[in-house]
């Protein structure tokens, strides 16, 4: 209940920042347009763009509420409700963004395996939200957090997808499922990607929750 109210109001807050919203929504589009001539490349870039946009959005949403959240805790809300609500809002927004770009790609290019392409984008958006949360938890200042996310996305983009470095990056799952969706490979790519995505989500969401549970902890003050 509390988490839903937090999510709804977080969404409303972001929705009012029109310029920022337009920039976040259009960011994946530039990624897509750059290599529009190559279906595989453009889809992978688009997916990475979605991941970058949603994680950065989450970073700012979580950071912007640093003044409010301790007060919500004092009023009686649990850390899970407060932080979960914020992540819920950006996850829902991210999945909606992914759905819109999936439709664009389907109309513009035609997709051989549309369900797999949808999974690739939605999973990336779902992983991106707690990733942004984790970065916000570790690096409480916005500039530092944004630079960290930039580094992560750049490494993900440039690293050899078969190498260890790419696998350690959070958006590797999108790349694997993308290979299944575009290059008509066997289902092992799909399962590998899915497992990586779920694991990454668990690590990021668990990490975010643990750090905030510690930071927003209230001492058990005995009644005087």
């Amino acid at each position: 209940m509390t988490a839903l109210v937090v999510a709804a109001l977080s969404a409303r807050e972001v929705g009012r920042r029109r310029t920022a919203l337009v920039l976040v929504i259009s960011l994946p589009l530039w990624f897509y347009l750059v290599r529009r001539d190559l279906t595989g490349q453009s889809l992978r870039m688009l997916t990475l763009g979605i991941g970058w946009a949603v994680s950065t959005l989450t970073l700012f949403v979580v950071n912007a509420s640093r003044g409010v959240d301790p007060r919500l805790r004092l009023s009686g809300a649990s850390t899970a409700a407060v932080i979960g609500g914020r992540l819920l809002a950006t996850t829902a927004g991210g999945v909606a963004l992914a759905a819109a770009y999936w439709l664009l790609a389907a109309v513009d290019q035609g997709l051989d395996r549309p369900a797999a392409a949808a999974l690739m984008m939605a999973l990336t958006a779902a992983v991106a939200a707690p990733l942004g949360g984790l970065v916000a938890a570790v690096l409480p200042r916005e500039l530092e957090g944004a630079l960290a996310l930039l580094s992560i996305c750049a490494v993900q983009m440039l690293a050899d997808p078969a190498g260890l470095v790419a696998k350690l990056m959070p958006f590797w799952s999108g790349r694997e499922i993308g290979t299944y969706a575009v290059d008509a490979t066997g289902p092992e790519y799909l399962w590998r990607g899915l497992a990586h995505g779920v694991l990454t989500w668990l690590i990021c969401a668990g990490g975010t929750w643990s750090i905030f549970a510690w930071r927003l902890r209230l001492p058990r003050c005995p009644e005087p």
Binding site: E13, V68, S75, A77
Partner: protein, 268 residues
């Protein structure tokens, strides 16, 4: 019981009344409405507001008029704070009871805000012991609000944190705002409010869940003279309602309104 009675009883319990006592008060209120041959909401108004009113009336005069002797709401014993090697303060002893207003004074940088955050539980003391009541309202000096939300949305958000339904939270917030002579605009974003009005919002949010202990950090910044008086009037009302209030201040003429003064600067 009527729907009004159920809401009334729920609100009493949410405000910390024992279940048995809440049921008894709800029954009596139903019976009072019956003997006046009136519907409860026409006789007493909205259930959640009457619950607050009744509780504050019941605690008001049960306190002796001279000197506070309500239950202890906050007790600091030998509390100190160090950052690395620098000691901000040490050995703070402070006891605040229900129906009492305490002021924390001292020069800039002597740790007044830090001490208040320690009282709230948002900052950990390096030494000493903090005992405080569970129901606490904290009003920070700045921030603590979301610039892109309206006042009503803040009421909904903070109410949800305390387990209040959105509509009830909004009407309670508007009721409390009216006592500070403020009528929140429906569409006005918090970032467009003047500094003084934002502080009023801050105060209402600290009080929304009806805490027993209020911790205020120089809450009157940006207030004009009239609002400043409204504020102290409100503090007096809280005191009479048996709440404990701690105010951080640097204005010496505020001290006429308080029961005890704790000079943090004098410790060193």
């Amino acid at each position: 019981m009527t729907a009004w009675g159920v809401r009334f009883e729920d609100e009493l319990r949410r405000l910390g009344v024992q279940p048995g006592r809440a049921r008894q008060l709800a029954d009596e209120t139903a019976q009072q409405a019956a003997e006046c041959d009136a519907a409860p909401d026409s006789l007493f108004g909205p259930a959640h507001l009457y619950a607050r009113h009744l509780l504050s009336e019941l605690t008001t005069r049960t306190l002796p008029l001279n000197g506070p002797s309500g239950p202890v709401r906050l007790r600091l014993t030998g509390v100190g704070k160090r950052y690395r090697r620098r000691t901000v303060f040490d050995g703070v002893d402070l006891t605040v009871r229900g129906g009492e207003v305490a002021a924390i004074v001292g020069a800039n940088g002597c740790g007044k805000s830090t001490l208040l955050r320690i009282c709230a539980g948002l900052t950990r003391p390096s030494s000493g012991r903090v005992q405080r009541t569970r129901r606490v309202g904290f009003v920070p000096q700045d921030a603590g609000t979301a610039g892109w939300l309206t006042a009503d949305e803040h009421f909904t958000l903070f109410g949800a944190a305390a387990g209040m339904a959105p509509r009830r939270a909004r009407s309670t917030g508007e009721h409390l705002a009216a006592r500070l002579a403020w009528r929140p605009g429906r569409k006005q974003l918090t970032q467009h409010l003047s500094g003084g009005t934002r502080q009023k919002l801050n105060l209402v949010l600290g009080e929304l869940h009806s805490p027993d202990l209020l911790l205020l950090d120089e809450p009157y910044q940006g207030f004009d003279q009239g609002t400043y008086l409204d504020f102290w009037h409100q503090v007096r009302a809280w005191r009479e309602a048996g709440r404990a209030v701690v105010v951080v201040t640097h204005l010496l003429h505020d001290l006429q309104h308080v029961d005890q003064v704790f000079d943090l600067g004098a410790l060193r």
